[in-house]
Symmetry: C2
Subunit: 349 residues, 2 copies
């Protein structure tokens, strides 16, 4: 089992993986994204993954067989181990926990070549429903405090398999940057009695310099202090603290805004690799007047300069206002003709 | 001029560079490290850089001509502008400053192919003397609060020129992670009345599981909660808060321990690209009972998974204890025969 270890100076928790959980991709060389001989995420290869935790599938289909359109399985090379209790311990002056957690993979489509930008918006909705269902289930596990949902697309973004997928990690700790956001938002709320994210949304709507996507329920913009070129935040317009409280109409609007952004990235930035992460409240504080859930989306365009890790200090070579112009000018690429998932009863409403 | 912009939620300052300060390496594609037709950092090409700020050179040589062994020049594509006063301003709810600062390049050797691992230890000493001299000079400028010294070696580490160099950035703010270390160290000191870094040194000496280099005045180890495989911290054994107070004997020990580490990295990790950053106290608090200056050195072995930026959460696939074994087992590569810099009077003492 891996360890969770705490930095004694700044208090950051790190997962230090044990040897046996190491992934096949080597550590000492560049990760090369090659097609595996047989892709374990493809339709028909269900036997190559651990048994499924959740699948949206046709009524007459069998678990761990074809017939699904979104499928969630345990990560075969988990960073944390789902068995055991959380044990905190000291090791001399150092603090650690055993690496208890859940590490799951959301396979976003049965077809090997589907990328999120090409999927019908309805398919992306299904991926978000899968996130929500898994988050709610993992919240019931009292060992965990937080569920991280993130997606790495392409080798520059850290993906080791090409087949479209996201990951879910449930942890006995709250990740550092999420905790910083919670603290910062709380401080702002104490002072202003308003949600800082709601205020940012209003400011962005007024300025109209950095907004790159809008619909009835969501807004997307490059943040004022973007760390990376074309860094994008997607927020619900209404104050909502937990992703798990998302409504049907919102899932539809979110999928539409994300698809539009990914298609514009493709045109404006030559189909870049990208990462996104969902920031939501921890289990203990699910409904909060000061925190506002959102997605942070970062196309991987540059090698980072390297010193960000040592300093927490970023130099962004493209002003977000200039980035927004490029994205808004990008004509949407025509949608590919990909099979839609079956109509979801709940999503008719 | 670029902006310094503050994230309204977590308070991180980011440099957002203006168009004219953009580097020639394109943002939209991978940075490719190719030899420029004429390297501006080479001996004899001094006219290709802005006039030198500092050079250690032979007595009879002329400024901005050959005859130097370490040379410091302004960065031709600075992230910040050295002219002007710091003006803080609001922009709606957002906070910003104009991007006042200094951005310098330390050219570490006259020869194009010298890499730090190959340099004589005496040459590395000269590089550290140059850092110190520039830091002390920049501290006199009341607009600045912090001087960042860092090195990117190789394209994976963000370097755009192959000729060995480091960078110095003076800023009107304290970088976020340095501030977090200062805060964390102060909190520990309030509780324990001891320096947390001194305590870590004692713990590492007792455990002997993660130490990868030692001499009379310095110690190097992979930290207990390493974020990256083979992440290494180098600290003076004695409590010292500011790099600028370094003594002659210490410069010698530091250069020796760094050279030894880089040579071991080369053998054990196939000559990896790497970054290092010096963490020292801000100008306002140069001598502190709780902060302990150090170097953080990170070989760039993996694409980071991508979600660290969104979460502040790291998964390290190699335990630091295992990494230390590999580094200690690595036989030192024989030193290349590179010309030594002239004897420095002050370094005889």
């Amino acid at each position: 089992m891996s360890d969770l270890r705490r930095d004694p100076v700044i208090g950051r928790w790190v997962i230090v993986a044990a040897e046996r959980s190491r992934r096949p991709s080597t550590i000492f060389t560049e990760i090369v994204l090659k097609e595996p001989d047989v892709c374990p995420f493809c339709d028909g290869n269900e036997h190559l993954t651990p048994p499924e935790i959740l699948a949206f599938r046709k009524r007459d289909s069998q678990p761990d067989r074809a017939g699904w359109w979104v499928r969630v399985v345990p990560n075969k090379f988990p960073a944390v181990d789902v068995l055991g209790n959380v044990r905190r311990a000291g090791e001399g002056m150092f603090d650690m926990m055993n690496g208890v957690g859940a590490h799951e993979v959301v396979i976003e489509a049965p077809s090997h070549d589907a990328s999120m930008a090409d999927m019908p918006s309805r398919q992306i909705e299904e991926v978000f429903w899968a996130y929500r269902e898994r988050m709610i289930d993992l919240q019931r596990d009292l060992r965990f405090r937080y569920v991280l949902v993130f997606k790495n697309q392409g080798p520059q973004a850290g993906a080791t398999l090409a087949h479209a997928h996201s990951q879910i990690i449930a942890l006995p700790i709250v990740p550092k940057r999420v905790q910083e956001e919670l603290n910062g938002a709380e401080e702002y709320f104490r002072y202003k009695e308003r949600c800082v994210f709601c205020d940012v949304i209003h400011q962005e709507q007024r300025d109209r310099l950095r907004v790159v996507g809008e619909n009835d329920l969501f807004i997307a913009f490059h943040p004022f202090a973007s760390r990376f070129p074309f860094e994008t935040w997607i927020l619900p317009r209404n104050h909502e603290s937990s992703f798990t409280d998302i409504q049907i109409g919102e899932v539809r609007s979110l999928a539409a805004i994300l698809k539009d952004l990914l298609m514009r990235f493709r045109t404006a930035l030559s189909d870049p690799d990208f990462n996104y992460v969902i920031h939501t409240t921890p289990f203990s504080d699910r409904t909060s007047p000061h925190f506002h859930w959102h997605i942070e989306l970062i196309p991987r365009l540059t090698h980072s300069a390297g010193f960000e890790w040592g300093t927490g200090f970023y130099i962004n070579p493209v002003a977000p206002e200039e980035a927004a112009q490029r994205i808004l000018n990008a004509r949407e690429a025509p949608a590919d003709n990909v099979e839609e998932p079956p109509q979801r009863e709940s999503s008719v409403g």
